[in-house]
């Protein structure tokens, strides 16, 4: 039965990992606005890839 101690050790490590991930998600603002991303993901960037390669020069800067 002592193996349970090891398993509990694993399980709590994983759980703490998820808790940390959650806290990071909240602190990075992912829960501030839970609606707009659902609209954003449906935008297709078709024109950007086909005829707008020369206008992507600031794309790198988009990432904060």
């Amino acid at each position: 039965m002592e193996i349970i101690v090891v398993l509990v050790g694993f399980s709590i490590t994983i759980a703490i990992g998820f808790l940390a991930a959650f806290s990071w998600a909240v602190k990075s603002g992912q829960y501030d606005d839970t609606y707009t991303p659902s609209m954003r993901m449906l935008f297709s960037d078709t024109s950007k890839t086909t005829n707008n390669n020369n206008h992507n020069h600031k794309k790198g800067k988009d990432q904060e």
Binding site: M1, E2, I4, V5, V8, S11, I12, A15, I16, F18, L19, F22, S23, V26, K27, G29, Y31, D32, D33, Y35, T36, M39, R40, L42, F43, S44, T46, S47, K48, N51, N52, H55, N56, K58, K61, D62, E64
Partner: protein
């Protein structure tokens, strides 16, 4: 202009191009503004914007860029910047025009439209945009101008300039608390699992490891997740009040103390599972109830109505300055549709002022040189210059805000049901706990301590504390689906006690904004229509403008002779035809006999040559459903009172409606409305008053009433300080919503009964010394879940019954 394509709407914004389209790229546009936006979008490769929705673009160009001159004032632009470092600055704006997915798409593409903008991010529900830009390359002003030019003019209000803390941060804390409590609840339950099953398979060694782990996990829950509860309990004890948080905190600490004892004495595994579960449920309830309406502001004051900047005369022309810098003695320039920010006198020859916000009277007032003008008036027609007599905060309208009713928060005096119950509850529980303690003490001291702790633990009012959050949360949710947004869940309780309802007329019971016109008289030929329109066009009077809009004449005629007499009418001569527009008196004095055969409030007669042709009637129409709502409310035994800033009508739907009220008052000024509410409250101190109104002129009355609900056509943009905002088209549901708030109180009582039953069972077991941690672990979550399901379910069923879902 002859073209093969017959397009009547603009490719960009979808507005009717009035038969005179501007062509570009084979597409029809309504104006060059739309063409340039189209060009910019296609050049930047953003033309897929036009494939997204039927009518994506917004048309609202502010051609006059000098409007934003005040943003060059370093102090003003600094106040708008939320964050700044060496490389970038962050500004955030409220943009009322954000209305669909393509708005979000376009606004988030700002970096590819203008060099210097690094990133833009839209919060759709809040209608907010956050823009990061390089302040060495571009200024705040150029960002605002770009937005305005795209058709998304930010609404910047004086209150924005007073830097407030980021309102999103407290939410993050609540989420973190909930996350931690959920994590702890899950894990502790897992460790308690052998206990639940009564398994004796595992060794004492394992049990102590599990218990220690549970304790370790629970400590942060007590310190962090539960902090709101014990802090609030501490504050209320310090101020000699007992709120529901006091027995809750006693229960939490009893639970923790008992568990710690069991841990140390190795006598059991404690109540850590019940404790973490309790906090988890409480926080869910809190989150459920705290559903706020981000983009709606309930605390607007006069500053939200005033412009951000004014044009002040300097040696060589005019300069835009922030409103706060306006001084007595300045000369300002005000244009059509702009608000006059401070009490002043007119310098120009004449002007027409609409005092709708201040007095509720919809017809504008004509003034002449040297006449006094009050802050809050809106200039109609030609631009005019004014000499400032008083500073903004000493003006008449602003003084209204200094009235004492604005200085107190109504809700601080409000005693909710939970507050009433909790002192009794706390004392009864303490009495039972100590009675049990002394009863057992004579026989078994150890057991006496256990009983004391057990009573306090099981009596912990978790189900009780959940009743209100979940009931009111569901009610608020139903209300918001029906266009009513309340400031706080406490307002629901207040609403259920309403005995008197006071209605304002203009804008509340009647439609506001452009009054619809109706033509009564003989049929007009096309040529006559053109002549009337041409004559009306030469006047800036709002009634004339309304006639021009109504007739939609495209032909341009110019009168050979034109006479306009203020307050009377216009005489225009076209060749051998004479057109008269104006009052009864005006036509009579020009030799046409006009008699009052209509009886409506506002009308303009038309005479051509020597004959009366008819009249345009400006009808005040009641909002759809308002008459039915009034009669339903009257039937349910409420006292109804009508207020109006206008004069008493002789006939028409408004009169019929006002006749059905128990009391009606006409010609009310803002203070009169406030005084009427105060009088009613004095007469019947124990009965609550609901005020339903709109606009700035009702602000005092809305504040003075126990509950003030503002009616608004657009909940996001225009409403005074109030407790709730009701969308104008939903006014017909007011009676059903009042009934639902009544029902909500009954649901709370019922769920109180349920949780008391659980408590009685639990306390009985505890006093008898039969309560085991296992029983607690079952009983406590069970009572919480019962209350949760009962309250939300009941509110849903009642909403269906009231036809609100």
């Amino acid at each position: 202009m002859e073209t093969p394509v017959q397009q009547t709407t603009c490719y960009h914004c979808g507005t009717d191009n009035n038969g005179a389209p501007v062509f570009h790229d084979g597409k029809a546009f309504c104006c060059n503004g739309c063409v340039s936006v189209y060009q910019l979008l296609t050049e930047s490769g953003l033309d897929s914007f036009y494939t997204m929705e039927d009518r994506p673009g917004e048309r609202k160009y502010s051609a006059d860029s000098e409007k934003f001159d005040w943003l060059d004032d370093p102090e003003a632009s600094k106040a708008l910047i939320k964050y700044s470092d060496e490389k970038q600055s962050l500004v955030s704006f409220y943009i009322p025009d954000i209305h669909c997915a393509s708005c979000v798409w376009l606004l988030e593409k700002l970096p590819s439209l203008k060099k210097g903008i690094l990133k833009s991010e839209v919060d759709y529900l809040r209608k907010e945009i956050r823009v990061w830009f390089n302040h060495t390359e571009i200024s705040v002003r150029s960002v605002v101008q770009l937005l305005a030019w795209l058709g998304y003019e930010p609404m910047i209000q004086l209150s924005d300039l007073e830097n407030e803390a980021d309102s999103k941060k407290p939410w993050r804390r609540t989420y973190l608390k909930l996350g931690l409590a959920g994590f702890a609840f899950g894990n502790v339950m897992l460790y308690s699992f052998p206990d639940y099953l009564g398994l004796d398979l595992y060794s004492e060694y394992l049990r102590s490891i599990f218990t220690w782990l549970s304790a370790l996990i629970s400590v942060p829950v007590l310190v962090f997740s539960a902090e709101d509860y014990w802090k609030s309990a501490w504050y209320s004890i310090k101020s000699h009040r007992i709120t529901m948080d006091v027995p809750l905190t006693i229960g939490i600490f009893a639970m923790f103390a008992q568990s710690a004892y069991e841990l140390m004495s190795k006598s059991g595994s404690g109540y850590f599972d019940s404790f973490t579960g309790l906090i988890f449920f409480l926080l869910i309830g809190k989150l459920f109830q705290q559903k706020t309406y981000h983009a709606i502001s309930f605390f607007r004051d006069y500053r939200s109505y005033f412009p951000m900047s004014v044009f002040v005369k300097i040696e060589d022309g005019f300069k835009a300055i922030p409103l706060a810098k306006l001084n007595k003695g300045d000369v300002i320039r005000v244009r059509n549709e702009e608000l006059i920010p401070a009490d002043s006198t007119l310098i120009s020859e004449k002007a027409s002022i609409d005092y709708h916000f201040v007095t509720g009277e919809s017809a504008p007032v004509n003034i002449k040189k040297a006449d006094e003008v009050f802050a809050g008036g809106r200039l109609k027609g030609q631009e005019a210059q004014f000499f400032i007599q008083k500073t903004v905060d000493q003006s008449y309208l602003t003084q209204l805000w200094n009235h004492e009713v604005f200085k107190q928060d109504k809700l601080t005096n409000h005693v909710s049901l939970a507050d009433k119950v909790s002192p009794y509850f706390t004392w009864v529980i303490l009495a039972i706990a100590f009675a049990g303690f002394f009863y057992w003490q004579s026989t078994d001291t150890m057991k006496a301590v256990h009983v004391l702790a057990a009573v306090l633990i099981v009596a912990c009012p978790c189900a009780l504390s959940l009743s209100i959050p979940f009931t009111m949360g569901s009610v608020l949710n139903t209300f918001s689906k029906n266009g009513l947004y309340l400031r706080s869940e406490r307002i629901v309780d207040q609403l259920s006690k309403i005995k008197t309802i006071v209605f304002d007329k203009t804008g509340t019971l009647t439609e506001s904004g452009n009054l619809p016109l109706k033509w009564i008289g003989r049929d007009l030929s096309d040529h006559e229509v053109q002549l009337i329109a041409a004559a009306a066009m030469s006047s800036t009077h709002p009634l004339s403008l309304a006639i021009v809009n109504f007739l939609k004449s495209k032909e341009k005629h110019f009168p050979d002779e034109l006479v306009e007499v203020k307050g009377m009418g216009i005489k225009a001569v076209f060749g051998n035809k004479k057109v008269l527009i104006g009052s009864e008196k005006w036509l009579n004095s020009n030799g046409i006999e006009a008699q009052d055969y209509i009886g409506h409030a506002t009308k303009t007669y038309i005479g051509i040559d020597e004959h009366l042709y008819g009249a345009f009637i400006f009808e005040q129409i009641l909002r759809a459903g308002s008459a039915e709502t009034i009669s339903k409310l009257a039937q349910s035994g409420l006292k109804l009172i009508g207020l109006s800033g206008d004069t008493k009508p002789n006939s028409g739907p408004v009169k019929t409606l006002f006749d059905s009220f128990h009391e009606s008052n006409f010609d009310c000024k803002p203070e009169d409305k406030l005084n009427i509410i105060s009088r009613i409250k004095r007469e019947k101190t124990d009965e609550l008053v609901l005020m339903v109104g709109d606009g700035l002129n009702d602000a005092g009355a809305l504040q003075a009433a126990d509950v003030g609900i503002a009616i608004s056509d657009d909940v996001h943009s225009f409403s005074p300080g109030c407790d709730g905002i009701l969308q104008a088209e939903h006014i017909y549901r007011l009676d059903a919503m009042l009934q639902l708030s009544n029902d909500a109180n009954k649901v709370v009582y019922a769920s109180y009964t349920i949780s008391f039953l659980y408590n009685i069972i639990g306390v009985t077991l505890a006093v008898l010394g039969l309560l085991s941690p296992l029983l607690t672990a079952i009983l406590m979550p069970l009572s919480s879940i019962t209350v949760l399901v009962f309250t939300t379910g009941m509110v849903y069923i009642l909403s269906i019954k009231r036809k609100l879902v």
